[in-house]
Point group: C3
Chain length 344, copies 3
């Protein structure tokens, strides 16, 4: 297992370096780069801890744990961005995180797993439930966007109030459906999703896994703050637009944990966990966080296209390297386009 | 069978009540509510009569009969709305009827059936034919909408004439394809759609079933007129927008027949008939009625999203309570959004 | 085989006729019609030669050869159109060619094959790879279109440069993915796509087939030049808009080769080759040619709808006459709408 993943642990040295730079009022670009770099090994630790935890809990709950803890990094970054009044970047980063999970994480996992194994199979039902959840999320994202277009005659305050009500109730429906999907897969129809028991035994105790998980998350929060506070000057130095950083750069940093875990499980031919991480994480973001923000149609279109691609590729319950390449390629195409767009 | 469905027959008392109120120039809101209430048990009678008829004809033709007679209520309401010059509400109610059948009728049927049976299976081919028909309808709805966008330099009269020609020919193509699908499922490839013969025997004669069907339809027409004529003042009292009434309220009343029949068949594990009712009814509306009216892109988008959801959920030929909850949830999300939209 | 396809060879007489008319400065409409008519038997020859070649190479490479040589006609017409500065028609004809291949070629093939055989089956994996490629192409078409919407503050020259970079890199990604799909189907996972060996033996030598292929292509180029140079005056005489000619007329002439080959293989129950020709050809156009041009959203919508239809119909690996009729019907609906649109 260790052999399959080149250790990034030496990058942990960037944690004290970034903190020292910040305390010394150092160069903002350096703080940005060192804090971004420090998040990667921390994400790796989170990934390793969740893998161990998954061996204690079984693959499906393990995938849920992975998806949830993978999103903690993004959530922390989002909170610091909101505190700095950068809601446009937050919205872009949520879209980017969904795209990154659906296309890049899943694509690289299928690609890596497919280069090692000729063909990998997984539970098509689970994939289908996730894809349906994503379409529900797209519906929920699209409806308020259309709603926003049609409020000509009303006062700003009334629009604000109505939007709050719509977002709140739509979110409640989505959360109820998310809970329903968990009840379905974990309780009423659990036998449909049982995977053959792993021959592997955890090498960490449950306590150690949880401890590493929590500690890494705490340090990630610290680094996220450094990242956000140095964001603006660093962007100017790098010549990147806020939109590109929100859609591509921040999600890649924030999803590093899911990346490493998902690819790892694909290499070990446990694609069910990979799917749970990649699609499950997207579903969580889309269902819980996104309805509270009104998205622009373009972002919804990108998420909708990604959802269609994932559905087409995952509905047969099989994956291979070409499907991985195709998902990754779709991500690259979008990233190239985003790179030249100033604002939308 | 009777035990499964709480009888609404006592609501038939609203038929004379609503007529009396109308003759006495009574309160418009009361006329609206009593006529709406009176349609429900009539729809129940229509449902029961078509069930009986279905036992005489076999499930597939039975489903077709259900779909057709379920649409009669909506057709009658639409005719009275057009006579009152409320074409905007008619258009909204046709969209709403498609959404209601695809999401609410199918969703509640899958939910009810799925709570009683662990998993229900049906003919995936039939579902696929319906889904393809719906995409054709979406194409037909979308093309004239785009066409309407591009007629800058022409006179109003010329635009009107051309639109008539486009709508007419597109409708002719769709009707021909609908007939082709019937020939396919009932004649050339009928053996693919044969379902195991029902053990059940009809308790009504064919004549009684047809008689109840026709009589109920006639009374529904009477109540529909009362409903439409009291609509405007009732809306003001209730504080509902015309759009919401067209998209949500009228279709729910108009689809009550399909609702009760579809859920009933799902509970009795005859999901093939449920699908024929719910999707077949949508297909009929979309193919026959809709191309004559130019829809706004938003309504086409809602229908397209619903079609994608139904395709994703029905392509495996299996249903369960979660899929029912997901379809119903999508409907609730749309209804919430529509509630706050004044006009589109 | 000859009996199945009425020979159009006598139309070859139009080759000298069209050339003579051009040399004599004859009526432009006559030149247009005779050159269009001359392309049909030439396309038939190309089709017959590729069929023979396909018997030498096996069905999958044969399909690729068919798709590529079928596109040569369109490519030649496009080149002459570009030389005459008619880029709008070129763009329309590329969209129209994708639509024609996906809906008309595939639809008529399924229809013809389905009337002869009750049900035809093919490799669903190959169809799925093509459908995914098409979604990638739609993504690639959509992204620059959105990109074009968002360049308010920049100079025309800068926009031009950025667009070149985006188009170039997106094209490179798509070409790499196309190559990856070829490697997958022909090398790494070739055994998944093996079809039962044809009992049939080629009646032409490999050399004769290649010779006829090249000679026919050369004469097609000559006729294409006549067609393009007489296009504008002929349109005025016929009362057709440039958009309609680009979207419908030119692609039907240009795809005649694929039409005859694809239908022929469907009649001989080799639907795998039919799919390779129809979808493979669309994929080639979409991947190689299209990203270099910025398309309007409407054209992307039409291609996206067609892709969804093809995916829905082909994902089960079976075809029948109804599916053929539905695809053809979708094409007719689009063509009717296009007929009345002056410009988009």
């Amino acid at each position: 297992m260790r052999r399959l993943r080149p250790s990034l642990d030496w990058l942990l040295v960037l944690v004290p370096v970034s903190v020292a730079l910040q305390l010394a009022d150092g160069n903002e670009l350096l703080i940005f780069l060192t804090s971004a770099g420090a998040i990667l090994p921390l994400a790796g630790l989170i990934g390793r801890a969740t893998e161990q935890l998954a061996l204690h809990t079984g693959p499906r709950i393990g995938g849920l744990v992975n998806a949830t803890f993978g999103n903690v990094t993004e959530l922390v970054i989002a909170i610091f961005l909101i505190l700095e009044d950068k809601t446009e970047i937050v919205k872009a980063s949520l879209t980017g995180s969904i795209l990154g999970n659906l296309l890049l994480v899943l694509g690289l996992s299928f690609l890596a797993g497919g280069l090692k194994h000729e063909e990998q199979s997984y539970n098509a039902r689970a994939a289908s439930i996730h894809a349906t959840s994503l379409v529900l999320a797209v519906t929920a994202l699209l409806m308020p966007a259309l709603f926003a277009l049609s409020q000509d005659g009303e006062s700003a305050q009334q629009i604000f109030l109505e939007r709050e009500v719509v977002s709140g109730t739509v979110s409640a429906v989505l959360i109820a459906l998310y809970a329903a999907a968990l009840v379905f897969t974990l309780v009423t129809h659990e036998h449909l999703f049982r995977t053959p028991s792993a021959e592997e035994h955890p090498s960490w105790s449950r306590g150690k896994a949880i401890g590493v998980l929590l500690a890494s998350t705490a340090v990630v929060a610290l680094e996220a703050e450094l990242l956000v506070s140095s964001l603006e000057p660093a962007l100017e130095d790098l010549g990147l637009s806020e939109l590109f950083v929100g859609l591509i750069v921040i999600p890649i940093i924030g999803n590093a944990a899911e990346h490493s875990s998902a690819v790892m499980f694909a290499l070990r031919d446990k694609v069910d966990v990979t799917l749970e991480i990649a699609i499950g994480s997207s579903t969580q973001i889309a269902l819980f966080v996104a309805p509270a923000l009104v998205f622009i149609t373009f972002e919804v279109a990108a998420v909708a296209l990604s959802t269609i691609l994932v559905f087409m590729i995952s509905s047969d319950g099989r994956s291979n390297w070409l499907e991985g390449a195709q998902l990754t390629g779709a991500y690259v195409i979008m990233a190239i386009s985003f790179f030249f767009v100033e604002a939308l």
